[in-house]
Symmetry: C2
Subunit: 216 residues, 2 copies
C-alpha cells in the first residue's frame, strides 16, 4: 500500500491556507491566490490544466511534479469540489476544473450529502462519500492500489486527517506573505506536537518547502 500524503500545500507565513470570505468569485478567499503563485508559475502545474508556459525544472517545478506523481487517488473536501452548500438537488456542478479535471484518477469528495459518481474526461471520476474520513480513506486506498493517496484539501479536510493521525507525509510550501485572516491549516491540536518531525526545508526563490513525516 502507498503512503497517505499532503503535497504542495501552500500556507502563508501567518498560517493561512486560504484567504477570508471564500465565495464563488473568490474560491481561495480574498488574496488567497497569492499563496499559489509559486505553483502557477511552474510548467508541471500548468501542463495538466492545458495551460501554456511555466518554468520547467528548479525546486518549485520539481516539487509540483513530484507531488502529482505516483498518486492513485485523491481525497478532497466538499468546498474544494465546489461552492454549493447543503443537498445537491439537481445541481449540474461538476467541479472547478472543467470537463477534464487534472486528477486523472478517482477523486473522493467528502460530503454530508450523497450523490452518484460523475465520470469526467481524462480519467477522473468523482465519488461522493458520506461516511467520514476512515471510510473515504479505505475507499481511496482500494482505488489507489500500490500508489499513494493524496489529501488534496482544503485546509479543514487536511486538518481532519492530520488530527486523526492518518497522514504519513506532509509537504508545505510557506509563501512569505501575511494574509492577516482566512482559514488556518493548523489550529490548536496538541496531539500533533509529537506526531510529526520536519525532515527537510528547501528554499526556492518564491517559497520555502517544508517536509514533515510522521514519527516512528
Amino acid at each position: 500500500m502507498g503512503n497517505v500524503r499532503v503535497s504542495n500545500f501552500s500556507v502563508s507565513l501567518d498560517g493561512y491556507a486560504a484567504g477570508p470570505d471564500q465565495s464563488m468569485d473568490a474560491p481561495l478567499g480574498i488574496g488567497g491566490e497569492q499563496l499559489h503563485e509559486w505553483a502557477f508559475a511552474t510548467r508541471s502545474f500548468r501542463e495538466p490544466l492545458g495551460m501554456e508556459g511555466g518554468v520547467r525544472g528548479g525546486v518549485d517545478d520539481d516539487l509540483v511534479a513530484k507531488g502529482n506523481g505516483g498518486v492513485g487517488a485523491t481525497i478532497i473536501g466538499r468546498n474544494m469540489f465546489g461552492p454549493i452548500r447543503g443537498p445537491w438537488g439537481d445541481s449540474d456542478w461538476r467541479g472547478w476544473w472543467g470537463a477534464a479535471p487534472p486528477f486523472g484518477h478517482s477523486a473522493f469528495v467528502l460530503t454530508h450529502h450523497p450523490r452518484d459518481p460523475i465520470e469526467m474526461e481524462g480519467g477522473t471520476t468523482f465519488h461522493f462519500v458520506t461516511e467520514g474520513i476512515e471510510v473515504v480513506l479505505k475507499r481511496a486506498q482500494d482505488a489507489a492500489g500500490d500508489a499513494d493517496v493524496r489529501i488534496g484539501g482544503g485546509p479543514a479536510t487536511v486538518r481532519q486527517f492530520l488530527d486523526a493521525g492518518l497522514v504519513d507525509e506532509v509537504h508545505l510550501a510557506v509563501t512569505p506573505i501575511l494574509l492577516g485572516a482566512g482559514e488556518r491549516l493548523f489550529t490548536d491540536a496538541e496531539n500533533l506536537a509529537s506526531g510529526y518531525t520536519c525532515t527537510g526545508q528547501t528554499p526556492s526563490d518564491a517559497v520555502t518547502h517544508y517536509h514533515l513525516h510522521r514519527a516512528g
Copy 2:
C-alpha cells in the same frame, strides 16, 4: 530617529512563539525552548550571557549579532520580565537574566503596575511603564536617540505593536517544528495583510529567516 524593529523572533512552523502552560519552571512554555535552539547554538547569543562556546559566523550567528547591534532601547512585556502577576508588592524579582542582563541599555517593561526603575549591572536599567504602547515607545525612542528600538517580546507585546502599525521591520526565524499549542504570534488581524511585505527569506541549516518591512 532609528527604526522600531523585532529581531530574531522565533516561531514554530505552526505559528507558536511560546509553548503551552508557561510557568516559573517553563518560562517559554512546554517545548518552547526548542524554538530558540538555533540561537542558543550561536556565539553571538552566548557571549553577552557569559556562556562558553557557540558557533561563530554563518547565517544564524550573523543574524543574532545584527539583531543585537544598533539597539538603543528594548521594550518587553511584563511576562518576559518575570512570572509575577498582579501588583509588585515587595517583590525583589529583577528579571530572568541575573545581575547583569544582556541588554546593556534601557529596557522598558510594559505593565499595569507602577514600580521604580531598577538599575542593573552592565548598563541595563529596567523602567516600568503603565501608560500603554504609544507612551512606552516614545520613552524608548527618547532613550535610544539615533539607535533602533527593539520590541523584545513576548508574543502578545509584539502583536500589540504590530496591530498598531508601529513596527518598521520584523525578522522572524521559523523553526521547523510543530508545537501543536501555545501562544501564537499572529492571530486574525486583517489590518496586517497589506501592511507588511516580505523582502527576504534566508535559510540556515536550522531555521528559515524571514524579513518583513512595513510597506510604503
